[in-house]
Each structure stands twice: as C-alpha cells, then as structure tokens.
Symmetry: C2
Subunit: 339 residues, 2 copies
C-alpha cells in the first residue's frame, strides 16, 4: 500500500441527481457535491460537466493527483463489463461503456457496479460489516435491492447481475404484480412502494378505524404509515408486522443459501427501526431452519444516509484497475517467468 | 506444483458403507474398496479398520508415500472445524473431530465436508463444471442437497453450513412436513422420497387409472414411478411434471441469488433424464426473472455414479492442509521475511 494515493472519488448516479465526493481511506468524505443527471440528453456533455465539477472539487481541496481511482454506483451497471446495460428515465444510449468513458476522461482507473452492491462494499469497508466475510446487504427503497458478500468478495455471478434478492418469489399464488413483469416478488411487498400497496389493500378490505383514512388512499406513503404507527395506530402497526413477516420468511430462505453472519438493512424503510426490525427478527427466527436458529444478526446500516451512496461507490474505487485500451496493439507474449 | 505427490485418497462415509479410493490428478480412480460403516460402535475401532483397509489398497497399488492428502465426504461435516456436528443412525459421539483423528492416524493432511459439497468440488475438478466459476450442484437423492460455487470457491458461509438449498420454502401454506421440522421445503417435494409422496397423494386424491395402482401404495419408490412413466403411464408422467415444475421455480429463485452459469443435477432422480429435465427447464424459464432468461444451463452430472462420491471427496484432498496440533507448543514468532 506504500505510495498509494490517499483518496478515491465516489460517484452515485441517480435518476435525478448525480452525487460525488472525495473520500479518504478511513471513509471520511472530504468534500462532496452534485450535478443534475438529466440536464444533458447527450452523455458526453454529462461526462464533461461531471469532469469539470469533480476537478473543481479536487482543486478546492488540494486533491488533484492524489486520487487512486473512481468508483461509480449506477442502476444496472455491470462490474465485469463496465457497461450500463439498461437505463430507465435517462435518455442515453445503452449498453453504455461508462467505466471506459469516465476512465478516458479522467485518466484514472474506474470501477462500476449497481447501487445495492456499492452499498454492500461501503458497509464492508466503512460500516457495520467491517471484518465480516459473509453478509447480505438489503436496501429497502423504491425497490428492494441486495448486495451479497461471500468469502469477503462481492457476488457478481456468471454475468455480473447476481444479487437480485428483491425478486425471489414470496407468494406463488395470487401474488402482486412486480415491476420485473412477474408476480409475487419480495419487492412487490417490502419496498417502500410495496408497503404503501399493503396500506391500500388493508384500508380497502377492512373497515376498522385508522389515522391513515385521513389521507387520500392513492397518496399514502411509507412515511405516512411510519408516522401513523408511531402515533399508535393499530392498522399502521399491522402493516409493519405484515412487512416484517414477509422479510423474515425471505431472510430465512437467504440463510440456507449463504449462511451469512448478518443481514444488514439500508434505505428509507430501515429508518422505521424496531417497528420493522422486531416483527422481522421474530418472523426470521420462527421460519429459520433449526440448524441456523439464533445465528444470523439483522442490523441496520452504519453509514450515514447522506453519505452512503458516495461512500459505497468510492469504496469500489480502491479496487479499480487501470484501463487496458480494447483496441490498442498488445505486446507480443513474453516467455513466462516462474515466480 | 513441482514434487507434489500424485495421488489423493477420497473417503465417502455413508450410513451403511464407507467407500474409499485412490485417485490421481486427472480424476482416475486407481483403486477403490469399502468397509461397513456401522460394524464398529467405537469410532476408534472404525478408524483403525479404515486405516488398515486403505493401507492395504495403497500397498497393492504401489502408492504408499505418494498420497498428497485425504478428502472425506460425510453427513453434517464442517469444512471449517473438521468436525462432524451430528450423526443420524451412526452411534459415534458428536461433535466428532474426524479430520483431526484421521489426520493423526494417517499422518496426512485431511479435509472434510458434507456429501453435496464434495459432489460440487468433484464436478468442478473432474466433471461437468470444469472451467466454471459459478455453478450450483443439486443432489436429488433421499434428500435434496446442494453445493454452491461462487467465484470458483465453494460457499461454506459464516458457520460452514451454507448451501442447504433443499430447505428453501416452496409452499408457504399447507406445505408438506419436512425432516428438518418445518413445512413446505423443496426437499419434501423433489427428493426421491418427496416424489414417492407425490405419487401417494395423486393416487389417493384422483381416480384415474395408473400402472402404479398395481403396487401397494406405501411401497411405491421413485424407481417405480420412473418405470411407469417410461411405459407411458400418464399419471406417472404427471408426477415428473409436478416435480420439475417445483424444481424450476426453485432454480429461478436460486438464479437471482448467485446468477450461476449452470445448475448441475446429480443423484438417483437425475437418472430420470429428460422425463424430469424437460418440465424442469420449461418451468425454470417460465418463472425466471427476465434479465436471466436463457442464461442458466441445467445439466446432468458427468461423474459416474459409482465413482462420484469418492471422486468428490478425493478432490477435497488436494486442498487439505497439514494439521496444526491444537495443544502443541507454538514456536516463538520469527521476524517476518518478505517474499
């Protein structure tokens, strides 16, 4: 590690904002800023603005030439290929060789992965999973994402897309329609939008009183349900129990796969704390295969939410490798020298 | 690899027989033999007989002092600890430090794991998974076992017991009772015994004719169902379709976890071939998350069944490490020398 440059840059590309920051080896965000992702219909203009904005930040913090690498978290980003395979709501052409484009622009090694994998790497490098070799990160946001770590390595699978645990099937009959086109996925029940769907179902089917009936039914958010539950509303509490029950069933299934030391929860719904965690843990233990009972911790992310996306992406920067130009002539093979 | 000894010994400990063999680096079983597992109520007597029998085999094949290590496949064996944690139908005390006991007896490095993991290592070393970094081995026998390989490494998880894919829950309501004490596990439907249970259910609930009605209902085996299906019996064929449907649903769920290149099937039921594989593959693709459709191969093991258990265990012998006595005095720390 001697002479290694002291900083990495983390970039989190979201549908609205692109957030980036300069991060040191202990996970301190030295400085951060953002640009609008959608301002540029042309991806080259976007990369130009990103380059200018990050360079300004580096100059302002005396960090030019001190950056080891860049890590990027982006939807549907493939760690193996450096490509974004698909974009929703962003008009750039796909597959997009983003890692290569950013690497050429900055003259720095770049690695990319999806948001949930970046969160898992961030948690392992700087957060609740420090020292853990086997854990699963579950992000409960608009969707349910996951990053799986086994033997200290992120699981990318044969094609770079492993770890889509939001899409295990929890209801095999009459399951809710999921964004992936199938029915009954975990995400359709336990994402923030899934929880709001549960509220609508409960309110429509049942007749008992609830503070939630004061809100137009199609405008209820997971935050409203949290507030109602904290105010003691029984129906709202039941929604969290229902959500925790399903997550617990799913976590018991995940355990027979990789026997993780911990499952770490991140994202908007994680802020519900014990309201979600208590029924989740109870359900997980009740459904757990006997040999794993009492072994798996369910804990909250230790990354500050404001920093987490950038931190997670930045951690990937430490493992970025210099770009090998795909078209440049390769040197002739040399005789192998035994180490 | 220079000067590495050319052979390993594989030992497969089953409830009835203990099979062992001398195997070379290309997976050729030079010689094999067996002893009765249950002949000795005392495990030390068992190890003495095993030592004598293996030594005789080594002498007869001029292989004494040419063995690099010993690999053992045994039920509930923990790779990390070298212990057998639990034994059913075998009266030896548990937890049993089998790796240490065998290593001390033979003066050779010993590694142990459970049968399904050994099968996965065997398949990766000598069989259908050569060259694959990400695959899942499913053994369809009395139970449903699994060995998961990710990034070229077997997945043992935080406690050594990862990969119990026979115990994901496939039926969350009114599921069949499973040997693990829960209900609805994959194993309760898709093991050889699960398939026989399906036959009994179909025959009891339905009234249509079937060759299977000629057999006393509680004596029907998966082999009888296979024979009936091959003879064109529609009910027997439906049993395979039902089994393949559930396996396909399970395989689609496994794929979102680790995105394997292939899922390899081994064990008694695998001999059903296309009778099982056709409905299995169709179900898997129908239930597959769109991004993984058409990517995962479902193939049969390439290991000969008679050799497979020994081959799988033997492959583990190549990664066995010399025993470090737990109680012996450690040498004083030496100044580190950089390589």
């Amino acid at each position: 590690m001697m002479n290694m440059k002291p900083y990495v840059v983390g970039i989190d590309i979201g549908g609205t904002n692109t957030v980036f920051g300069i991060v040191d080896a202990r996970g301190v965000v030295i400085a951060s800023s953002s640009i609008k992702t959608l301002k540029h219909a042309n991806v080259n203009d976007y990369i130009d603005e990103l380059y200018t904005a990050i360079t300004n930040l580096l100059v302002a913090h005396d960090a030019v030439d001190k950056v080891y690498g860049i890590g990027i978290g982006a939807p549907n980003a493939n760690y193996y290929t450096g490509m974004i395979e698909k974009l929703v709501n962003i008009p750039w052409p796909t597959p997009l060789p983003l890692a290569q484009m950013v690497s050429e622009k900055f003259g720095l090694p770049v690695a990319i992965t999806n948001d949930a994998n970046a969160a898992a790497i961030g948690e392992m490098t700087y957060g609740a999973a420090r020292g853990m070799k086997n854990f699963i990160m579950i992000t409960l946001g608009t969707g349910v994402g996951s990053g799986i770590v086994i033997n200290g390595q992120l699981v990318y699978g044969s094609d770079g897309f492993a770890g889509e645990l939001g899409h295990v099937i929890m209801k095999r009959n009459n399951g809710r329609l999921c964004g992936c086109g199938r029915t009954g996925c975990l995400e359709a029940y336990c994402s923030a939008t899934g929880v709001a769907r549960t509220a609508r179902e409960f309110l429509e089917i049942r007749t008992d009183a609830s503070i939630l009936r004061n809100i137009p039914i199609d405008q209820i958010t997971s935050k409203d349900i949290y507030d109602a539950a904290m105010a003691g509303d029984p129906l709202a509490k039941e929604i969290f129990e229902y959500t925790g029950e399903i997550l617990g069933e799913a976590f018991a299934d995940f355990t027979v796969f990789s026997s993780p030391e911990a499952i770490i929860i991140f994202g908007g719904l994680a802020k519900s704390g014990e309201l979600l965690l208590k029924p989740l843990r109870e359900s997980m233990e009740r459904h757990m295969m006997p040999m794993f009972k009492g072994k798996v911790k369910v804990i909250l992310s230790e990354l500050k939410e404001a920093d987490a996306a950038v931190l997670g992406a930045s951690a990937l920067g430490w493992e970025a490798k210099p770009l090998v130009p795909a078209v440049a002539p390769q040197p002739a093979p040399q005789p192998a020298v035994k180490a």
